[in-house]
């Protein structure tokens, strides 16, 4: 399974931000998205995740293979760490394996209500969701925000060994070097003319 993107154009709020974007990511490989704020990193990831339609172009991705992780982790404060993770496993129809608690260093926190976790701990819980849902293509938006150096290294190791090492794919928007041997894609090269007003949006909207 390969993620292949051709001639992709995406818009944010009806204004095109990226145009004529193309790349291929083979199994076991990652792609790091670069670009200044507003370059369209989040928009691109949301389009790849199927949350928003592209303006043009095609995305070759098997259905139900992508997982999207945004700035917000969708953690329920009144559920415990394990309950949060078990919910995601059940929603994706995956068996529960508590190996993930070790992978993301959550073992000692497993019965704590998620609302009492620190910012970095909740981020780890948010990332641990990726470990239980078993998706092949991870679309990660700034996954290392509020993580300390040790947690970043732990996450990078998980990504390398447990995800990419098993033939997974990752597209990562990040400013922090993860130590992955991954090509970088500078979105500045694909910036759409900001003056161009989208005419396709209304049709795409409906």
């Amino acid at each position: 399974m390969t993620l292949r993107v051709q001639g992709l154009a995406v818009a944010r709020g009806g204004v095109p931000v990226l145009t004529d974007l193309g790349f291929t990511v083979d199994p076991g490989h990652a792609l790091v998205l670069r670009g200044p704020n507003g370059a369209g990193k989040t928009t691109l990831l949301r389009v790849l995740a199927g949350l928003a339609p592209p303006l043009a172009g095609r995305i070759d991705l098997p259905p139900e293979s992508a997982a999207y992780a945004s700035h917000a982790d969708g953690i329920k404060a009144t559920l415990s760490v394990t309950e949060n993770l078990r919910f995601w496993a059940a929603l994706y129809g995956r068996p529960w394996a508590d190996q993930v608690l070790d992978d993301f260093d959550l073992r000692t926190l497993k019965d704590r209500p998620a609302g009492t976790l620190s910012a970095g701990q909740s981020r780890r819980l948010g990332l641990a969701r990726l470990g239980v849902i078993g998706r092949q293509v991870l679309l990660l938006d700034e996954p290392t925000v509020s993580l300390d150096a040790a947690s970043v290294a732990r996450f990078a190791a998980w990504l390398r060994e447990r995800h990419l090492g098993r033939g997974g794919i990752a597209v990562i928007a990040t400013h922090v070097p993860l130590g992955l041997d991954a090509p970088e894609l500078d979105l500045a090269w694909f910036r759409a003319d900001p003056a161009a007003v989208s005419h396709g949006t209304d049709a795409a909207f409906l």
Partner: protein
């Protein structure tokens, strides 16, 4: 779908989940009405079924804005939307969880609260029956309204304005069936209309809500 339903039920009964909100509101309205109307017991027993229905409807309305807003605020909604569960099923699970935590307790509480309204003994089964039949429609219609207003900050006012007109048919036929039943009149027509509204909204509105969510998530 079961996973989402169980999670929402669990969240509702945990601290701050809002499980008791509608029930408490219902209780307060029904307790206050006799004070406002005065001690004439025959007036109370005449308006009793209507009061219970209006109170149940408003109590349902009160808890609607939490339906998708919480999942939207903490970012769970896009993650659920990219899961294998279609958004139509998400809407249905949400509506079902809402009914189990709101409509069902209200239906069960209506009978004991009827005592405060000096309800005719013959009216009790009809109140429970019509509420039991009508509150699922209120939950499904409300879930559709909540899907329409997801992402709007303080969308509660807009939600109420959108949903209240849609609630009117349910209220009319529900209260009418309860009133007729209490007076021993023929109830088939309003009861069938009420059942029809519930069946229709259950069949159609999850699809509408799913579509609306998909657009709102863009």
């Amino acid at each position: 779908m079961k996973a989402l339903l169980l999670r929402d039920l669990r969240l509702a009964i945990r601290a701050g989940g809002g499980f008791g909100l509608s029930l408490a509101f219902f209780l307060i309205v029904v307790v206050l009405v006799p004070f406002g109307v005065g001690p004439e017991s025959d007036i109370l027993s005449r308006i009793g079924p209507g009061i219970l229905w209006v109170a149940a409807l408003l109590a349902t309305l009160l808890s609607l804005d939490r339906q998708f807003a919480l999942d939207h605020e903490d970012g769970a909604l896009p993650l659920i939307a990219t899961s294998p569960l279609p958004l139509e099923a998400v809407a249905l699970a949400k509506a079902l969880a809402h009914w189990l935590t709101t409509g069902l307790p209200l239906t069960l509480a209506a009978a004991p609260l009827g005592v405060l309204l000096n309800l005719d003994p013959a009216a009790y089964p009809w109140i429970v029956l019509t509420l039991g039949l009508g509150t699922p429609a209120l939950s499904v219609i409300g879930t559709f309204g909540a899907a329409l207003t997801v992402g709007i900050r303080r969308g509660g006012l807009l939600l109420s304005l959108l949903v209240l007109p849609l609630y009117v048919p349910t209220l009319i036929f529900g209260a009418e069936a309860a009133r007729r039943g209490a007076q021993g009149l023929e109830v088939a027509t309003p009861l069938l209309m009420l059942a029809g509204i519930t069946a229709g909204s259950l069949a159609l509105l999850p699809f509408a809500a799913g579509g609306v969510l998909r657009i709102n998530l863009r």
